[in-house]
């Protein structure tokens, strides 16, 4: 069941997006957040009253775009991060060239030393950028100095 996300959790997630990725909090002002299990999605609509009406009706299967596939440990949704522009991501990102971007979509680990342009502050999830697009997220394993693509559902389950 999908329902409106409580204010406290929303603030926590917005703060996380800001502190980890440097995304300006104002970006989220126009979005309504909803939760289904551990998955948190957001919808950009000036018809929020209708969205809330639908959510209350129990008919809704999903809304807008998934931002966190598991909000409890802040696991981001790779597809969802595509709504951000690269300039909105200020920290914890890696800019991939075409070869590395292809490796990313082939679910191959990427050696951090091969990424020329990056700002990786700490272990955990980071945004992956190619050209002018955020193409998804990866887990930065600081000990092994690799990026592990976060593509569980993108390539394996649905396609």
């Amino acid at each position: 069941m999908v329902r409106v996300l409580d204010f406290k959790t929303r603030e926590k997630l917005v703060n996380h997006a800001h502190s980890r990725y440097g995304i300006d909090k104002s970006f989220f002002e126009n979005y309504l957040f909803a939760i289904s299990g551990a998955s948190v999605s957001m919808i950009c609509s000036d018809k929020k009253d209708k969205v809330i009406q639908l959510l209350r009706s129990g008919l809704v299967r999903s809304i807008g775009i998934e931002l966190f596939s598991d909000y409890r440990d802040y696991t981001p949704s790779s597809l969802g991060f595509g709504v951000f522009k690269p300039c909105q991501i200020k920290t914890n990102f890696a800019i991939l060239d075409r070869g590395l971007a292809q490796a990313y979509f082939n679910d191959k680990e990427i050696q951090v030393k091969e990424v020329k342009d990056k700002k990786l502050l700490s272990a955990g999830y980071v945004a992956c950028i190619y050209c002018n697009y955020v193409i998804g997220t990866a887990r930065y394993d600081k000990e092994r100095e690799v990026l592990v693509p976060n593509l569980t559902y993108v390539n394996k389950k649905i396609k």
Binding site: D46, Q53, L54, V60, L79, I158, K159
Partner: protein, 306 residues
């Protein structure tokens, strides 16, 4: 790819319907349709990446941001640009219903039978990710594809529901509704050669019954003066003109002219199998594969009378 299978009964039907043109129609059924893609304007306005794909493209002159892929390609769907949703492979005829609906950023739009979601994504593009789209489908498994398509394309203004379109009722009315109705899929035979193995007149009739019920509910969810686009990927008049005739005579709708210059289409039929349809039906748009080069398609724009 094996040649498409056309049942005897199917051929007889279209010989009666098309007369001398039928051989051109059957011949076109045997050829592959041109592949095409639409640029996702939610993500980019820049077509520059097409030049780097080592494939030749030809702009579709009657749809913005859409290109025919001229050369034989493989693995096109696995390109980075496809993975990040910069474009969507989509047959041109199936892009048209969303364009005909012409949703505005302030609209509340219902896509009643939305899976697999390509048309919903085009609606979101036309609305600039504003307003609100309800994308509904009865089929849970196909909804997963729909949700994936919308996520990949960066669609953020859509609520997805899983209800039977025949009695779906969210409790409010819509400015615009797209009903791309489930059908006998005759128009897709060029892409799926075995599609017509189970075809029969009984199938066509059973689909028509469901289509009328879906349309009846869709009209009940439409605001007065609201716009509804009915489309199918089939060419049987029972599933097309006859359903529109029903909407005009029973559901207080009127048809609207479709203004899409350059689309190689024909008008809706006014007569079939000794049945005469109301003159309004001629405003519908038929895409015959032998004339348009696309898959077979039917589109009609309806307005609910106040």
């Amino acid at each position: 790819m094996p040649k498409p299978y056309l049942p005897k009964e199917f051929k007889e039907k279209y010989e009666r319907l098309l007369g001398d043109e039928s051989s051109a129609f059957f011949e076109s059924c045997m050829t592959k349709p041109a592949k095409s893609l639409i640029i996702n304007r939610l993500k980019t306005d820049d077509y520059g990446f097409l030049k780097e794909l080592e494939t030749s493209f030809e702009k579709v002159r009657y749809i913005d941001n859409t290109f025919f892929i001229k050369s034989e390609v493989s693995g096109f769907g696995n390109l980075i640009e496809q993975n990040i949703g910069l474009f969507q492979m989509q047959e041109v005829s199936s892009i048209l219903p969303a364009i005909v609906l012409d949703p505005k950023p302030s609209d509340i739009v219902l896509d009643l039978t939305a899976a697999p979601g390509n048309k919903t994504a085009v609606l979101a593009q036309l609305m600039g990710n504003r307003g609100l789209i309800i994308a509904n489908d009865i089929d849970k498994s196909r909804l997963n594809t729909l949700i994936f398509t919308l996520k990949k394309q960066g669609v953020t203004n859509t609520v997805v529901t899983c209800q039977n379109g025949i009695n779906f009722n969210p409790g409010f009315l819509f400015n615009r509704i797209l009903l791309d109705a489930p059908c006998s899929c005759e128009g897709m035979v060029r892409k799926k050669p075995d599609l017509l193995r189970d075809w029969s007149e009984a199938l066509v009739k059973s689909k028509a019954i469901v289509q009328k019920r879906l349309l009846s509910n869709a009209v009940s969810l439409l605001k007065d003066d609201g716009v509804l686009v009915y489309s199918t990927c089939t060419l049987s008049p029972e599933e097309d003109e006859e359903v529109i005739d029903y909407a005009v005579t029973e559901l207080h709708c009127r048809t609207e002219e479709i203004r899409l210059p350059g689309v190689p289409s024909s008008n809706g039929l006014l007569e079939y199998n000794h049945k005469r349809y109301c003159p309004d039906v001629s405003r519908a748009m038929r895409l015959w594969p032998h004339k348009s080069g696309t898959e077979g398609f039917f589109i009609c724009k309806l307005k609910k009378e106040a």
